[in-house]
């Protein structure tokens, strides 16, 4: 058994039972590990139609076979569950150290079942696993929980993943935070944890995952590290400026959404740029476990210091809310980390609320003294807090922009796909990214296929961002490769420097397999297809593979991408063809068979 520890920890919070069971190695190989493997487990164990916040949902913490090995960025873990935000399968990926620690404690996966009747936390110390009372932690913000648990357990080296008030309050945009400021952020996985009354999971592990071919691994890792060092993005851009360096380039291209996507070019972008962040607010650079890139930032304003802010966060609390005050962005980011909220959904929801206010749906008297005006820097801080605590109208914002706008009868003002807020790139000027957003299996998201890379950043080659040519195939390959990278336990940022063959080489050296670039991509495709099947069974359909009406019908009003709309209608049919799906975007039996996906016998009355 190489790469994998071969052990699954299954914890039933109602019965307070803790069991270890052998990992299904056939599935592990077939679904790579991590994201793909846990999704297969989830799909086999729950009915995708259940209410995501009911006790029937399961919450899976999973590492990849490369997590905890000497591979570059091998410190990641994923949270897999049914999403309460999107009703799709959720897989949120996080860095830091917690994931590697779980692997070293000897587990590939933790499956959490049912719900506890009172707040608890789970403590894992290698083979010793206990469920403990967490009443004294309930209500605490995430840094307090982390501090309290390290003290309580009496081991400085213990790693803590936990939810803040956002997760406790079942906010559908709640994140799970680990190592204080790293987030499994998207799709409301923190709300599922909250629904189970599970406040935290602490881990201490001292083992070491076995590697199939240590000599080969050394050689492959040296080669990959060299590529990472020599690549301009991973070797220089990200270490120097972090992800915030994107602000200027995205804005210069005129695809930096402003005021809830009402405009796409922000005159004050320089104030929000990575260059400004580095010059005025940065106090240190940090990296996740085993990461040679170290894109993480620590920034400080007044007396608040926090990890981040990332590019997406700066865009969200900044330009998307019409705010150019970086200090306010850093504070709002701080509160997202403390309350345990996804910064993209939180900021984009405030932006939507600002448009509701601008258009007269939300009245001044509803705003308790903090008007939701575009450009109001204080509002992004105050409303983040209100959302996390469900105070006043913040209670409505806490469930995301779609549900908020729907309440006012204008769901089209929510800039979301499958009810999850789309991030910081206007797809009207980046056609492939628009297709990637619309077809993402977890709703609006840039890290299911980061077409920004070829369409804007010229990596691995420059594509014309306005052209449709070849984009369906590019999106498919990026989706499949990303599924592999996530599932193996590495950070997506390695892909600026590495390609499918590099991932296959590392996977083989660790797991003793004989993957080629092609076979590993096919495994990614298999993962993508089961995610799709989950979503179809959950009740989603082709009508959900779309973009907000504004992006399809209202041309960009200003800047270098002026006059363009997202031409999704022309791309989608070709994407389905590229995927081997039928014209309704449903995987065909032939394709599933080719991928070796065994269609469950009408278990949930779904026809494929």
């Amino acid at each position: 058994m190489f790469g994998f520890t071969g052990k699954v920890l299954r914890i039933n919070l109602k019965e307070k039972s803790i069991k270890t069971e052998p990992l299904n190695m056939d599935l592990a190989k077939k679904y790579v590990g991590g994201r793909g493997l846990a999704e297969k487990y989830l799909m086999d164990e729950i009915d995708p139609k259940i209410d995501a916040l009911s006790s029937e949902n399961k919450l899976i913490f999973v590492t990849g076979p490369l997590s905890g090995t000497p591979t570059p960025t091998g410190g990641r873990y994923m949270v897999v569950t049914k999403s309460p935000l999107t009703d799709t399968v959720a897989c949120s990926n996080s860095g830091g150290r917690w994931g590697a620690e779980l692997k070293m404690a000897g587990y590939d996966m933790i499956i959490i079942e049912e719900k506890s009747d009172k707040p608890v936390y789970i403590n894992i110390n290698n083979d010793e696993v206990t469920i403990r009372d967490a009443s004294h932690l309930w209500g605490m913000v995430t840094s307090e929980v982390t501090e309290a648990l390290i003290k309580e357990i009496g081991d400085e080296k213990v790693k803590v993943a936990n939810i803040g008030p956002g997760g406790e309050n079942l906010s559908r945009m709640a994140a799970i935070m680990n190592d204080i400021d790293r987030a499994a952020g998207r799709s409301g996985v923190g709300a599922v944890m909250g629904s189970k009354n599970l406040k935290a999971i602490t881990v201490r592990g001292t083992g070491k995952p076995a590697v199939a071919n240590p000599e080969k691994l050394k050689e492959v890792v040296a080669n990959c590290n060299k590529k990472i060092r020599e690549n301009g993005v991973t070797g220089q851009g990200l270490p120097t400026y972090g992800t915030a360096v994107l602000v200027n380039i995205i804005n210069e291209n005129g695809v930096f959404p402003v005021n809830n996507f009402q405009s796409s070019h922000f005159a004050k972008a320089e104030d929000l740029s990575g260059e400004t962040l580095a010059e005025k607010y940065l106090i240190k650079r940090v990296g996740c476990y085993g990461c040679p890139i170290a894109c993480g930032r620590h920034c400080k304003v007044d007396d608040l210091e926090s990890g981040g802010p990332e590019y997406e966060t700066i865009w969200g609390f900044g330009a998307d809310c019409g705010v150019s005050d970086m200090g306010a962005v850093i504070k709002a980011n701080y509160w997202c980390n403390e309350l345990g909220l996804d910064t993209i959904s939180a900021s984009a929801t405030i932006a939507a609320a600002m448009e509701l206010y601008q258009k007269g749906y939300i009245k001044e008297e509803d705003t308790d003294g903090v008007p939701l005006e575009f450009g109001n820097a204080d509002a992004v801080i105050q409303w983040t807090k209100r959302m996390g605590k469900r105070e006043g109208l913040g209670d409505k914002l806490a469930d995301g922009s779609y549900r908020l706008c729907e309440m006012y009868g204008v769901p089209e003002l929510s800039m979301s796909v499958k009810k999850q807020e789309i991030p910081a790139y206007d797809p009207r000027g980046i056609q492939g990214q628009g297709l990637a957003y619309a077809t993402s299996n977890r709703g609006g998201c840039h890290v299911r296929a980061y077409l920004i890379s070829p369409e804007i950043l010229a990596l691995p080659e420059k594509l014309d961002r306005f052209s449709l040519e070849g984009k369906p195939q590019w999106v498919k390959v990026f989706q499949d490769l990303t599924a592999v990278i996530d599932s193996s336990g590495l950070c997506l940022f390695t892909s600026f420097a590495m390609g499918a063959q590099d991932y296959a080489d590392m996977y083989n050296a660790v797991c003793g397999t004989d993957h080629t670039a092609q076979s590993i991509l096919e495994a990614g495709e298999r993962i993508w297809n089961i995610e799709k099947l989950f979503n179809l069974e959950s009740g989603l359909s082709i009508t959900d593979d779309t973009l907000p009406k504004r992006l399809l019908e209202e041309p960009i009003v200003d800047g270098p991408s002026k006059d363009n709309v997202a031409r999704l209608g022309e791309l989608l049919p070709n994407y389905f063809v590229a995927r081997g799906w039928d014209e309704n975007g449903v995987p065909t039996e032939e394709r599933l068979e080719k991928l070796g996906i065994i269609v469950p016998p009408v278990k949930h009355k779904m026809k494929y």
């Binding site: 200027n248 380039i249 840039h446 950043l457």
Partner: protein, 75 residues
Amino acid sequence: MNIRVRLFATLREGRGKELMLEALNEGVTPKDIINRLGILEEEVAILLINGRDGEMSTVLKVNDVVSIFPPVGGG
């Protein structure tokens, strides 16, 4: 003719953020501009002219804005 040049990330070091190059000859290209600024072609990852993809050999027009980036990425 005048061309506005915008520089980003590490290319700003010793050069500033934004430069107005005046009295340039007709037919000037981005390649001429980077030569003048002491930027090597391999340091340039992304070149935009008025926010659209540009080429090193594109002939610039009056009041064009040229944006030059080293390799950058994120997400």
